[in-house]
C-alpha cells in the first residue's frame, strides 16, 4: 500500500497547492473529475496516475462541459505543475466528451466532494466510476488500464448491467454492443439484448 499512499499524497499535494493558488487569486472553481486519479483519491485503485481528468465545471448548480480549462485555472495549473515537476497536462479535459450524451442518472446525488482551498472537486461514486470505466474498457480493449481498473473495482453483476445500459446510450452501434457483451463475458457476466435495453 506504500505506493498507493505516495501516489495519493502527491496528487493531494498538487490539488492542495492548486487550491491555495486559486484561493489567493480569488478565482475559485468547482470541477467534476473522472478517471484514474478520481479513483486514487477515493482509495479505490493504487496504480500510478500522471493526470487528473476534469470534464465539467459546476456553474449555477449545473455541470457544464469543459472543452478546455478556463484561462485562470489553466495558468494556475501550469504554475503548480512547474513548481511540483508535474506533467504539462497533469490537469486536463481529455475525456470531456463523456458529457455530450449525459452522465449516469442521479450521479449528482452520489458525488463525493473534496475541498482544497479555492478548488472544489466533485468525484463520481464507485458505481458511477464503474459506468465510465466500462465504457472506456470496451472502447480501448482488454489490454488497457481501464479494463484493469474495472476489474479492481470488483463490480457486481447488477452494477455492470447498470453501467452497460448507460454505455449503450453513448455508443448505439451494433459493433459496440457486441464488444460490450464480450467485455462483460470476460468479467463473468452474460447478458441478453433485452437486459441492455
Amino acid at each position: 500500500m506504500l505506493d498507493m499512499d505516495v501516489q495519493r499524497e502527491a496528487l493531494e499535494e498538487a490539488l492542495a497547492t492548486l487550491g491555495a493558488v486559486l484561493q489567493e487569486q480569488r478565482t475559485p472553481y468547482e470541477l467534476l473529475a473522472v478517471g484514474g486519479s478520481g479513483l486514487l483519491l477515493l482509495g479505490l485503485i493504487n496504480r500510478p496516475t500522471g493526470d487528473l481528468d476534469v470534464i465539467a465545471l459546476l456553474q449555477r448548480g449545473v455541470f457544464e462541459k469543459l472543452e478546455s480549462l478556463p484561462e485562470p485555472l489553466q495558468v494556475a495549473a501550469d504554475q503548480v505543475g512547474e513548481a511540483l515537476g508535474l506533467d504539462d497536462r497533469w490537469l486536463n479535459t481529455g475525456p470531456s466528451s463523456l458529457m455530450d450524451l449525459g452522465l449516469p442518472r442521479g450521479l449528482e446525488h452520489r458525488l463525493v466532494t473534496r475541498q482544497y482551498g479555492g478548488l472544489c472537486l466533485h468525484l463520481p461514486s464507485r458505481e458511477d466510476q464503474i459506468c465510465f470505466k466500462l465504457h472506456a474498457a470496451v472502447d480501448r480493449g482488454p489490454d488497457d488500464k481501464h479494463y484493469e481498473d474495472l476489474k479492481i473495482l470488483e463490480p457486481t453483476r447488477d452494477e455492470l448491467i447498470i453501467g452497460a445500459r448507460w454505455t449503450v446510450t453513448h455508443d448505439i452501434s451494433e459493433g459496440f454492443r457486441q464488444m460490450l457483451k464480450e467485455c462483460l463475458a470476460s468479467l463473468g457476466v452474460e447478458v441478453s439484448d433485452d437486459e441492455l435495453g
Partner: protein
C-alpha cells in the same frame, strides 16, 4: 517559519536597495561611498527599472528624481519608451508617478507614460559625475557623438566586438530599426563601420575598434546587459513582496514562477543559477542563492556569482 522567511526578504530588500544606491551613485546621485566604479552605467534601463524598487527607499527615490530633473537632457526618451514597451512589469503606478514628477520638476522633460506627479522638493545634493570617469563611458560617448541611435550602435559594437544586423542592433540598443539602419548606413559612409553580406542579411562591424576605444578613453570593465540584469534584480525584489502571502504552498509556486521567469536572463548574463529542484525543497536553495547574488551585486563584486564562462566579465549577450 514560513517558506518565504521574512528575514531573508528583509535582507534581500536591503541588498537590492544598496545595489541601486551604488549604481545611481556612479551617475552622481548623492550617496555613501562607491561600490560600482568599474561598472559602465547605462542610464535608461536604470531609470526604467528603478521606480518600482526605490519607491520603498524614499531618500534614494528623491535623490534620483533630483538627478533626473537636472540631467534629463542626457537621457533618451525614445529608449525609455522602447524599454517600457519591452518590460511591461515596469510600467507600474510607480513609473507613472516617477516620470510625471521628473517632467514637472525639470520643467522640460517629456518622459513617456507619465501619470500624476507626487509632491517633491528639490534636494540639490545630486550632480552629474565627471564624464571622464570609467563608469561614465556611455554618457561620455553621448557627449561626443550625440544622444542618438548612432552612439548606441557604436557602443554596442565596440563593447561586444561582434558583427550584427540592424534588427539585432535595434533590439540591443532599444532604438527603432529604421533609426538604427540609418545610423549604420551613415557610419558605413563615414568609414567607421563596415558591412558584410551573409546570405540575405547585412551585418555591421567596426572598422577599427581599437582606435575608437583609444579615442574614447578609460572604460569600466563590467558592462552588463542592463535591462536583463535589472529584470533579474527586480524579479527577486518582487519575490520579497510575497511576505504578505501567508500560504506556504502559494509562496512555493510563486517562487518557482519567479525563477522560471528569470532563468533565461541568468543564462544570458552567465550568472550561475540555483539548482532547480521541485516543490518546497527549492525554497532554501532559492533563498541562499538570491541573498548571495544580491549581496555580491550590492558590493559591485561579481566574482562570487559568475559561473564558469569564457569571459571573465559580464558582457552584453547576443547571438554570434
Amino acid at each position: 517559519m514560513t517558506s518565504l522567511d521574512s528575514e531573508a526578504a528583509q535582507t534581500l530588500r536591503r541588498e537590492i536597495h544598496k545595489f541601486y544606491w551604488g549604481v545611481w551613485s556612479e551617475l552622481g546621485v548623492s550617496g555613501w561611498g562607491r561600490t560600482h566604479e568599474d561598472w559602465a552605467i547605462d542610464p535608461e534601463p536604470l531609470i526604467v527599472f528603478s521606480p518600482s524598487v526605490i519607491a520603498s527607499e524614499p531618500r534614494l527615490r528623491d535623490e534620483v528624481i533630483d538627478w533626473c530633473s537636472d540631467n534629463w537632457r542626457h537621457v533618451s526618451a525614445v529608449r525609455l519608451r522602447h524599454l517600457l514597451n519591452g518590460n511591461e512589469n515596469e510600467e507600474t503606478d510607480a513609473w507613472g508617478q516617477f516620470a510625471a514628477t521628473v517632467n514637472r520638476s525639470s520643467g522640460a522633460a517629456k518622459w513617456p507614460r507619465a501619470t500624476t506627479e507626487r509632491k517633491f522638493a528639490r534636494t540639490g545634493r545630486s550632480s552629474l559625475r565627471p564624464l571622464s570617469e570609467r563608469s561614465m563611458i556611455f554618457l561620455r560617448m553621448r557627449s561626443i557623438f550625440g544622444l542618438s541611435a548612432r552612439t548606441e550602435v557604436l557602443r554596442y559594437l565596440l563593447f561586444t566586438g561582434e558583427r550584427s544586423t540592424a534588427a539585432m542592433l535595434a533590439a540591443q540598443t532599444n532604438y527603432a530599426k529604421r533609426n538604427v539602419a540609418e545610423a549604420c548606413e551613415s557610419l558605413v559612409q563615414a568609414g567607421v563601420l563596415q558591412s558584410t553580406q551573409i546570405g540575405n542579411r547585412l551585418y555591421f562591424s567596426l572598422v577599427d575598434g581599437e582606435a575608437l576605444s583609444a579615442f574614447l578613453g578609460p572604460s569600466a570593465h563590467i558592462r552588463p546587459d542592463w535591462p536583463v540584469l535589472l529584470r533579474v534584480v527586480n524579479a527577486v525584489f518582487s519575490w520579497t513582496q510575497l511576505e504578505k502571502t501567508s500560504n506556504d504552498r502559494v509562496v512555493t509556486v510563486e517562487t518557482h514562477r519567479v525563477f522560471n521567469g528569470i532563468r533565461g536572463d541568468l543564462n544570458a548574463l552567465r550568472l550561475e543559477a540555483p539548482d532547480h529542484v521541485v516543490g518546497s525543497q527549492f525554497m532554501p536553495i532559492w533563498r541562499n542563492w538570491s541573498v548571495m547574488l544580491m549581496r555580491s551585486l550590492a558590493a559591485g563584486d561579481l566574482a562570487l556569482t559568475q559561473s564558469a564562462a569564457p569571459s571573465t566579465e559580464i558582457t552584453e549577450s547576443h547571438p554570434r
